[in-house]
């Protein structure tokens, strides 16, 4: 997957699409306040200001952050029961019914994209009636009950497992769509064509910032972006820790319409906001 930060407007359509496609539970206000939200995809914001205390004129950078499907994934080797592992196609996959919920993978994920089902958010738990007592005590919002009747459950995507309490979940690169596409191609006795399968986030993106495909296919968009068209802008998140992500970003280039001179750099000095540094780093072409 490649995400172009130049065209990303931070509209969060991808977040909504992902939530709808993957049956990501709605947890309610109280649980969000406890940092228990379940989004598989989030939009990180970085602010670049000339000085730390100057907020009237800031540049914002949006970075959609999702599971990077690292080839050297720190989450995979720490799971004691091998509930998360790497597929032969390079997906970092989660086996929900194997997960025992030690949360070690989430601790060890440098991108913090793994989400734990802290409570019974979906009504899918093996313990009956364990939402109401917590709602009565004020620990949880009643909205989690919405998914408990058969009619409302019709909104759920039948191709995606509804996760129960106590397991970790995260972006699967819409593996259900990949699987469907592969089966269709197989029935037609042909290889999967590039662009035939779209992830939900890619489909929803109004600016086509997200491109998904098979990097081993030299004709694919993703290959062309990384190797031919955008070699200068391609970078990977947190390259220094060598987790080898399968998601690359294309650095944002701003036309500031003014000379970015030595003087201004000096003026920024050591006080530049961290995000500013982040942006500078992004401008450096990647070694990949």
């Amino acid at each position: 997957m490649s995400i172009d930060l130049n065209t990303c407007t931070g509209c969060a359509a991808c977040v909504v699409a992902c939530t709808a496609e993957n049956n990501v539970p709605v947890v309610g206000k109280k649980q969000v306040a406890k940092y228990h939200e379940m989004h598989w995809l989030r939009i990180d914001r970085y602010y670049a200001a000339n000085r730390k205390d100057q907020f009237d004129d800031v540049n914002v950078l949006f970075q959609p952050m999702l599971c990077q499907h690292c080839d050297n994934a720190p989450c995979e080797n720490v799971c004691p029961v091998a509930a998360t592992n790497h597929s032969s196609e390079g997906l970092n996959q989660m086996t929900y019914n194997r997960c025992i919920g030690t949360r070690y993978c989430a601790n060890n994920c440098p991108f913090k994209v793994r989400r734990f089902n802290w409570l019974d958010f979906t009504g899918a738990d093996s313990f009956p009636d364990n939402q109401q007592p917590l709602i009565d005590e004020g620990g949880m919002d009643a909205i989690v009950m919405d998914m408990n009747d058969d009619l409302t459950r019709m909104v759920l995507n039948p191709d995606v497992t509804v996760r129960s309490r106590g397991v970790i979940e995260k972006c699967s690169f819409c593996v259900q769509r990949l699987q469907e596409g592969k089966l269709k191609a197989k029935k037609a006795s042909r290889p999967l064509i590039d662009g035939e399968v779209k992830t939900a986030c890619m489909q929803a993106c109004p600016t086509d910032a997200i491109v998904f495909g098979n990097y081993n296919d030299k004709e694919s968009r993703i290959y062309k972006i990384r190797k031919e068209e955008q070699t200068k802008r391609t970078f990977y998140a947190l390259e220094a820790i060598h987790v080898l992500p399968n998601v690359n970003y294309l650095a944002k280039v701003r036309n500031t319409d003014r000379h970015v001179g030595v003087k201004e750099e000096e003026h920024d000095g050591g006080e530049a906001h961290e995000a500013k540094k982040e942006e500078k780093k992004e401008a450096v072409p990647s070694g990949h």
Binding site: R45, I100, T102, S126, F127
Partner: protein
């Protein structure tokens, strides 16, 4: 005479703990104040803390046995019991911190029908399973094999039929024959040999949970020796706490002498200094290593920042205050030792808290940095519950088993005999009235 009269007071935390665990299993870990960034908080802090405490017993029994430290016989039995109960308490946390504890058996590498899906031998958590269960088993065998001759002694002196039967069963028909003793001695030696590497391996492996990760503040190679030293440090402190109470309540002053207390305080000052050096080395490496994330983790978010107070609590309790034990007078002061033993255990609890929480709460990506973490009532309840479990077990032990190794103490009776003779000298010089007054009750 017995510590058991305090048991009912301590049953209450056990009940609280049971209820906390019941809630966690039924409703979920969301009742704890952990979040997407801080995946481990009090649970694993308490786990590492209890495991650390469970180190002293085997160290005293095995390593000091191999080093022929005769003084250990006064304290080894209770220390071993403490080890076993502490490891039992420690085990609660990794089990009940799981989201789906009913599937906990997945971590066991048993033959199953799930095809190639088995345990992940690359995971440090799996190493923990083996390390801790091995340690527990060997410590339990070691402790129990030492108890057999003592149970036989109690059986031989039992006044009631029921006692005789019970202690007869648990002493496995021990007669005290030369053959029995010979086998007992060789078994003890074998178990001591087995336990010695275990003392070092258990906490080394626990430290791998952190050392092998990519989280800044966890990802350091210094952890194994640092954790082992810390474990011995906290273990000895806990032995002190318990022994001083046992000594007072059960009037064992003649068996657990000031010499014992002083020797253990020396170990505390040594290991305390080792952890102190480890803390400073960590800070040095965070600067010298040149990793920005690690530098920030230590200098911005650990020694300073919202959790700075916990770092400095740790520093004060673990590094600064044990240095007072360089003074011989303080080393031999029972009240001071008791206070220090508690201070050290508070400090070591904070060490684990600092390592776990202040590393994960702000790691790589600022958007996921967490709010301030406070434990919820159920996390505290669970922790108190393990105290209930620990003291219930310890008090039952002190009621039904000899807290001093009767058979082993006979080896060192010479020194005790000498101190007894000294005492007799004093008594002989006393006036009759004074003696009568002193021994009237």
């Amino acid at each position: 005479m017995s510590l058991l009269k305090y048991e009912s007071t301590l049953r209450e935390p056990l009940v609280d703990g049971d209820y906390s665990v019941y809630r966690e299993v039924t409703y979920g870990i969301g009742q704890w104040n952990l979040n997407k960034t801080i995946g481990w908080g009090w649970d694993i802090t308490n786990f590492v803390w209890w495991v650390g405490i469970g180190h002293a017993g085997t160290l005293i029994s095995a390593i000091l046995l191999l080093f022929r430290q005769g003084w250990r016989t006064g304290v080894n039995r209770a220390a071993e019991a403490m080890t076993i109960f502490a490891v039992m308490c420690a085990g609660q946390f990794p089990i009940f911190h799981m989201g789906r504890v009913w599937d906990a058996f997945f971590v066991l590498p048993y033959a199953n029908s799930r095809g190639p899906l088995w345990v992940n031998f690359a995971s440090p958590l799996l190493w923990d399973v083996f390390a801790i269960s091995t340690y527990f088993t060997v410590s339990l065998l070691f402790w129990y094999s030492g108890l057999i001759p003592d149970f036989a002694t109690i059986r031989d002196r039992a006044k009631t039929k029921a006692r005789k039967l019970w202690y007869g069963v648990v002493s496995f028909g021990w007669t005290g024959s030369t053959k029995h003793w010979q086998r007992h001695e060789s078994l003890s030696l074998v178990l001591a040999g087995l336990s010695t590497p275990l003392v070092l391996s258990v906490h080394t492996i626990v430290s791998f949970d952190f050392a092998t990760s990519v989280v800044p503040g966890w990802h350091t190679t210094i952890f194994p020796p640092y954790f082992v030293a810390g474990a011995i440090f906290s273990g000895f402190a806990m032995v002190q706490t318990l022994m001083l109470v046992t000594r007072k309540v059960m009037k064992l002053d003649d068996y657990i002498t000031l010499g014992h207390i002083e020797a253990m305080n020396k170990v505390i000052v040594l290991t305390g200094s080792i952890v102190g050096i480890a803390y400073l080395t960590e800070l040095f490496m965070a600067w010298y290593g040149g990793s920005k994330f690690e530098y920030d983790a230590f200098y911005k978010y650990r020694i300073a920042g919202p959790y700075g107070w916990s770092y400095w609590t740790m520093m004060t309790c673990n590094v600064i205050s044990p240095q007072l034990f360089w003074s011989k007078k303080l080393r031999r002061n029972v009240a001071f030792t008791f206070i220090m033993s508690i201070v050290v255990n508070i400090g070591m609890w904070f060490e684990r808290f600092v390592i776990i929480v202040t590393s994960v709460y702000r790691d790589y990506i600022p958007s996921s940095w967490s709010v301030y973490y406070r434990p919820s009532i159920w996390e505290v309840g669970f922790y108190l519950g393990t105290f209930g479990l620990f003291f219930t077990c310890y008090f039952l032990f002190s009621k039904f088993a000899p807290v001093i190794a009767i058979a082993e103490i006979k080896h060192v009776l010479k020194t005790s005999g000498e101190s007894f003779k000294e005492k007799m000298d004093v008594i002989e010089k006393e006036s009759v009235e004074h003696f009568a007054h002193g021994h009237a009750h």
